[in-house]
Amino acid sequence: MFISIAGLYILLNADFVSAAQILIYVGAVNVLILFAIMLVNKTEAFKPLPRRWIRKVSTAFVALALFALLATMVLQTHWPVDLTLQPPASSVELIGEHFFSDYLLPFELASILLLMALVGAVVLARRETIIGEETAIVGEEPPPVLQLPERPREPIA
C-alpha cells in the first residue's frame, strides 16, 4: 500500500516526496510495525464485550457518512485546475529553496522533534537493568549469564 501511494506521488509530479515515502514508510515505519508485531507476539483471545456490534455499526455509519459528505463536496466543487501550466522542472530544487527560505523555522523544529522522539522512544522502551549487583564469588565458575539482569516488575493493577 505504501509503495502504491509512492507510485501515485510519481504520477502527481512529486518525485522527491515519492522517494521520501518509499524510504521512510517502506523502510522505517514498516519495520517498526513488524517489530511491534514480533515483540507483542501473543495470540490473545480478547474478552467479548457486550454491545460491541453497536460500536461497529455506528462507526461504519459515521465513516460511510463522512465519505459520502467528502465525495459530494469533491464532486460538486468546481476546481480551478489549470492544465496549461507546465510543472516545474525539478521539484527537489524548489523544495530545497522552500526549506531554507520561508519554511526554515518548521524545518528546524522538525529536526528538534525528531531528536525528542528518538530520545523519548529509547527512554520508554528500554528495560531497567540492575547495575552493580554482581555476586563476587572467588574460585567458582560463575554461571553463564544468558540475559540482562532485569529488575523484577509487578504488573500494574
Binding site: A14, Y25, L39, V40, T59, L70, V74, L85, P88
Partner: protein, 101 residues
C-alpha cells in the same frame, strides 16, 4: 488523470483509517490505522499541490513535514505499546485504563 479521483481515493483511505482506528482492539492495528490516516492526508496535499499550485509546490513541503511527524509518531507509539505490554501483559485497547480516574 483528474483531481477528483485522487481526492476520492484519499477520502476513502481516510474513512477506512477512522473505522480501523475506532473499532480495532489490538494496539498495533490502531497504530497502523493512524498511518493510514496520515497517508490519506499526504495524498490530498500532493494532489492539491500538483493541480492547483503547480508552480510553487508548497503542498509537497507540507507533505515532507507530515511524513517526518508520522515517523516520529510511529516510533513513540511503538515504544508506548511495548512499555504497556511489558507492564500489563496485554495489547487489548479495552484494558488500558491507566488514564481513567
Amino acid at each position: 488523470m483528474k483531481l477528483e479521483f485522487f481526492l476520492l481515493l484519499a477520502a476513502a483511505l481516510f474513512c477506512i483509517g477512522i473505522y480501523g482506528l475506532i473499532t480495532s482492539r489490538n494496539a498495533v492495528r490502531v497504530l497502523m490505522s493512524v498511518e493510514l490516516l496520515l497517508n490519506a492526508v499526504n495524498l490530498n496535499l500532493v494532489a492539491f499541490s500538483n493541480f492547483l499550485d503547480g508552480q510553487q509546490i508548497n503542498g509537497q513541503v507540507f507533505t515532507v513535514f507530515v511524513i517526518t511527524i508520522a515517523a516520529a509518531e510511529a516510533a513513540v507509539g511503538l515504544a508506548i505499546i511495548l512499555s504497556i505490554y511489558r507492564n500489563r501483559d496485554t495489547v487489548d485497547m479495552e484494558q488500558f485504563n491507566l488514564l481513567k480516574w
